[in-house]
């Protein structure tokens, strides 16, 4: 069950030509379902609505490559609320598209009032690594795992501020969360790089603080400095530090199933198809040093 699927890419429309002309460039495709449907809001009738053309496109992709779902709308870190209708929609999507696994983020991006009207925080805000948050997430992940058979992964987040007096260090928090809830880890190496750059810690020491048995998927990406901090802008090619981390981490993740390259569509022109292929080949070369790709 834990076979390595290979190197994938986070889908955006700028990839269509590349995928048509060099389909072997990727072993799987990751999609963000939230960008393919409209969400009319909590309590609205027919709340999640996917345009038929989008549905057709996902089905087409699914006929050619295995699919993986990366959700951005659970907002599992939001205190005091679990969005059951969102989970129902994830179940529907899972039934329809047969994703190899599902994931979401270790953060909160929604707050809500007493009537549970949701408001967007407009960016993913970090969680405190405390017992209260641990218990809340464990409960919610349990609810998801009860209803969705595939692995469910949580992705380590990028953050721009730190909290004081937390019970856990980030690595220990992630390890304990996976242990208690049964979720897997989506280890975003670029987020590690961004946090290490902004908060001046040792990247490999951080990796060593994780339990690498938990890692099911790895994200790699590029970023840049805007203003005073290094951002996870997914702005094209991976940095050398990310490649170095990938090389360091892959051989030590016995349950790793995929390495996904993420870039934002608006940066397509900085790489072009050739540049994207280079990134995928580089990732594959690193993986093949210690993994065999097995078709799911």
């Amino acid at each position: 069950m834990n076979d390595f699927v290979g190197v994938g890419i986070l889908y955006n429309r700028s990839l269509d030509t590349l995928l048509d002309t060099v389909p072997d460039a990727v072993d799987y495709i990751e999609i963000i379902p939230d960008t393919w449907f409209s969400d009319k809001g909590v309590g609205a009738a027919g709340r999640f609505d996917m345009f038929p053309a989008y549905e057709k496109r996902i089905l087409e992709l699914g006929q050619r490559w295995p699919l993986v779902a990366h959700h951005v709308g659970f907002s599992l870190g939001t205190a005091g609320y679990f969005d059951e209708a969102y989970l129902d929609n994830v179940i529907r999507l899972q039934e329809q598209f047969g994703f190899l696994w599902n994931s979401d983020h270790l953060s909160y991006s929604k707050v809500h009032d007493e009537e549970v009207t949701e408001y967007s925080t407009c960016l993913a805000l970090p969680l405190t690594f405390d017992e209260e948050v641990m218990e809340m997430l464990t409960g919610k992940i349990g609810q998801i795992k009860e209803k969705v058979d595939t692995p469910f992964l949580m992705e380590n987040n990028v953050y721009f501020v730190k909290f004081n007096e937390e019970k856990y260090e980030e690595g220990a928090f992630l390890a304990e969360l996976c242990n208690r809830s049964g979720c897997g880890l989506l280890l975003d190496l670029h987020n590690v790089h961004a946090n290490a750059t902004n908060f001046n810690f040792d990247r490999k020491q951080f990796i060593d603080s994780l339990d690498l048995k938990d890692v099911v998927e790895i994200h790699i990406a590029g970023g840049n400095v805007i203003g005073e901090m290094y951002l996870d802008s997914h702005s094209g090619r991976c940095n050398d530090e990310v490649w170095e981390l990938l090389d360091y981490v892959v051989p030590n993740c016995p349950n790793l199933r995929g390495v996904t390259f993420e870039f934002h569509e608006s940066y397509f022109n900085t790489m072009g198809n050739e540049g994207i292929l280079e990134q995928l080949e580089h990732a594959r070369a690193i993986c093949l040093k210690s993994k065999n790709i097995v078709c799911p």
């Binding site: 409209s38 009319k40 909290f163 004081n164 805007i226 203003g227 951002l231």
Partner: protein, 241 residues
């Protein structure tokens, strides 16, 4: 529920640089708005001391909130130019809570601009009202909004189908669109060259492009009163595709 309040406070700070400065100066303000434990209050104070991080978070909030507006109302944002920032700030003060439905955000921003125009607070762009209405018609089609449209200038009628709207415009829509495409290429808009028309248009919107057909008063009235011959209406609609 304290963690919920803490998360709300953090979200409110990131959404509002002025609030960050006020709380940094006077942390007691937190007690007026939120019920926090002393650790949570300490944590907010600690956050606000990290000026690089809180500044970056505030910047990302603004970028992430502005991006969909720009994406959904490119002509309006382009013509507002550098002042877009000023008006979006005012809008966020008026409507501080953004939700995940860009539809709501863009409709309320359009309504906000129309109100400011009506009040005379924005009066330096003669075609702005017509342009906001045009993009609102496009967004009504995009998001399948058929009722409670925040402008009387955009009309949905069953007979037109979901991909079309009737639009009342003070200025010639074809000339406006041409001028705005030029603006995209760096040519300033010559407002004198855009004819005042005060008439109705049929508007179709698909793949981010408008197709429009100017109507005579008689045609518009017949469509609104739903007494236009179906064949005649179909001929008009066919000109849009």
């Amino acid at each position: 529920m304290s963690l919920k309040e803490f998360q709300q406070a953090f979200a409110d700070l990131v959404a509002n640089g002025d609030f960050c400065r006020a709380v940094k100066q006077n942390p007691e303000l937190l007690d007026e708005k939120y019920v926090l434990t002393s650790l949570e209050k300490d944590r907010i104070i600690f956050l606000l001391q990290q000026s690089r991080g809180i500044g970056t978070s505030c910047m990302l909030y603004q970028i992430n909130r502005f991006t969909p507006l720009y994406d959904l109302m490119p002509y309006t944002c382009n013509i507002l130019g550098e002042r877009t920032r000023e008006y979006t700030r005012q809008f966020w003060a008026y409507y501080p809570k953004s939700n995940f439905q860009f539809k709501d955000e863009v409709m309320i921003f359009s309504q906000f601009l129309l109100e400011q125009i009506a009040l005379g607070n924005i009066n330096h762009i003669p075609i702005l009202e017509s342009l906001v209405n045009l993009e609102m018609a496009g967004n009504c089609i995009r998001f399948a909004v058929t009722d409670n449209v925040p402008s009387q200038a955009v009309i949905f009628l069953e007979s037109l189908g979901t991909a079309n709207r009737l639009l009342f415009s003070r200025y010639d829509v074809v000339q406006m669109l041409a001028a705005l495409d030029q603006l995209g290429a760096g040519v300033p808009v010559d407002y004198e060259a855009i004819a005042a028309v005060n008439c109705f248009y049929l508007v179709h919107f698909t793949d981010r492009r408008f197709a429009v057909q100017m109507l005579s008063d008689a045609e518009a009235t017949a469509i609104i009163e739903e007494r236009m011959d179906k064949a005649q209406l179909n001929v008009l609609l066919a000109t849009l595709v």
